[in-house]
């Protein structure tokens, strides 16, 4: 009987090990092409995005879009009288509506000037605001200040701001700084020296407007001191006060806005406004209609 058994226990183990080694070798040498994923259902095909070329035309269109976003924001402030009555934070500033209208005119003129440069660069002018900035910066700030936040599963509702005029003034000074920084940031990106000069002529004016508003909000606030803040003693986040000469050089760092009513922990809305980047550029394929 045992004559037919030619494989010992040790042979079996050896054979098993060899099989595993061969399988590993075959797997390593084999092709691993899985092919494309199968489609289920009848959905639309995935649209192919354009190349996203960034040239002078795109950069200029984007700068104009930022200026127009500011124009629109100021128009809402004017239309809704958001700076007509001073709030508790800045009781002595008076009705600033006309001042905002003056600042707005500069940005409208700036957008028109940039449109001319855009056309010269062979691109189509951008005639509306920057969609991303309108949404994540201006819209978010105005919504929180004017309407508060609805409750979610995890957080209670937040009421509208305790001082809308204060928030709008902070928004104005932030937008003036954003206009300045945008023009300054574009200087190293556009290729025409003449365009750089025009952009910084606009940037210089916006920079002065930022200083002007800072001094309206913070009289005598020329130089940065030891953290000037507006603390109303309510336990909510203090709000930094702007100064006329915040730094020796023009800064391209994030512009911090703090405002709105604090949440359940007293934390107010805090948004860092940054100069246009890849996801906020207005590319050649983009249009105001889309």
């Amino acid at each position: 009987m045992n004559d037919n058994i030619t494989t010992s226990r040790r042979d079996l183990l050896r054979l098993g090990g060899m099989s595993a080694a061969i399988a590993t070798l075959l797997a390593a040498c084999g092709s691993s092409e899985a092919g494309e994923l199968g489609r289920v259902g009848f959905g639309d095909t995935v649209p192919e995005l354009g190349p996203g070329t960034v040239d002078d035309g795109v950069l200029l269109r984007t700068t104009a879009s930022v200026e127009r976003s500011i124009v629109a924001a100021y128009q809402r402030i004017i239309d809704e009288g958001l700076l007509a009555t001073p709030g508790a934070a800045f009781p002595g500033v008076g009705d600033l509506t006309e001042q905002v209208r003056l600042l707005q005119q500069h940005h409208a003129d700036a957008a028109a000037t940039i449109d001319t440069l855009t056309t010269e660069a062979g691109a189509e002018p951008w005639t509306c605001g920057n969609p991303r900035f309108d949404s994540v910066y201006i819209g978010a700030i105005m919504n929180r200040s004017l309407a508060g936040e609805e409750a979610t599963d995890a957080t209670p509702a937040i009421e509208a701001s305790d001082d809308v005029a204060r928030d709008m003034l902070n928004l104005v000074v932030s937008l003036e700084q954003l206009s300045t920084a945008t023009c300054q940031a574009m200087v190293t990106q556009v290729s025409s020296a003449a365009h750089r000069k025009t952009l910084m002529t606009i940037g210089a004016r916006s920079s002065r407007q930022a200083a002007h508003v800072a001094l309206v909000m913070n009289p005598g606030g020329y130089l940065p001191g030891s953290g000037e803040e507006l603390d109303d003693g309510s336990g909510q986040s203090p709000i930094p006060l702007p100064v006329a000469l915040p730094a020796p050089y023009g800064s391209l760092g994030a512009i911090v806005y703090v405002g709105g009513r604090g949440d359940e922990n007293g934390v107010r809305q805090r948004i860092s406004l940054e100069t246009p980047s890849l996801n906020s550029l207005t590319y050649a394929d983009d249009s105001c209609a889309s």
Binding site: V187, T188, S192, A193, A194, R196, H212, Y222
Partner: protein, 207 residues
């Protein structure tokens, strides 16, 4: 007292390019050779170099001369004018330091090409009257800062390299604010002066 009291000469702007060309036109040699560079007509192509070109170095040298002139103008005003308040003195010193800092930054970029000295022409033109009150001096410096901004804008319009353009733009942003801060310090309430609706003429700092 000083509200909206801008000297007639300072408040009557002249065409930037015209004054610059005129200022440079009276000079000889280097001033003439710099004319095309400062005329704001130079244009970079799609591949702007990062480092300053040879022409850029000359133009940035003019910018450094201007900044050193401004530093000395502030030094004279701070030491020569009597009666500064603490607030006024703090702003004067801060602006003086800023101009020296700009000159140092330009020096770092220019290396051995840095002139390292002020423009005597610009210094003579920008000096403020030290016999008046601090308020008078501040009003004069309001115009000086506007002229500095205008000059740097001309410089920017002639630069090809992006390093020099980046630094010049950062200086412009800061110097533009100087005029507004000085207008406020002088008690000027007119928005057209606080925001410098009409930029003052550039200054010839080529020599």
């Amino acid at each position: 007292m000083h509200s909206d009291a801008i000297p007639p000469s300072a408040a009557s702007p002249t065409g930037r390019r015209a004054v610059l060309a005129a200022g440079l036109g009276v000079g000889l040699g280097a001033a003439v050779t710099l004319l095309p560079m400062l005329s704001g007509t130079a244009a970079a192509d799609g591949t702007s170099p990062k480092k300053p070109t040879d022409d850029d170095l000359e133009v940035l040298g003019v910018a450094q001369r201007l900044e050193l002139s401004l530093r000395d103008v502030y030094d004279d005003a701070i030491s020569g004018v009597a009666g500064w308040t603490d607030e006024q003195a703090a702003v004067m010193v801060a602006l003086r330091e800023a101009h020296e800092e700009f000159a140092n930054a330009l020096s770092s970029m220019l290396g051995t090409d840095a002139p390292g000295k002020r423009s005597e022409v610009a210094y003579a033109e920008l000096r403020v009257d030290t016999g008046g009150t601090p308020g008078d001096a501040i009003v004069e410096l309001w115009a000086v800062e506007s002229r500095a901004t205008a000059t740097h804008l001309e410089v920017l319009g002639s630069l090809v390299g992006t390093d020099g353009a980046e630094l010049t733009a950062a200086i412009i942003t800061a110097e533009a604010r100087h005029s507004t801060a000085l207008a406020d310090l002088a008690g000027i309430s007119d928005p057209s002066l606080r925001l410098v609706d009409e930029e003052q003429a550039p200054v010839d700092a080529t020599k």
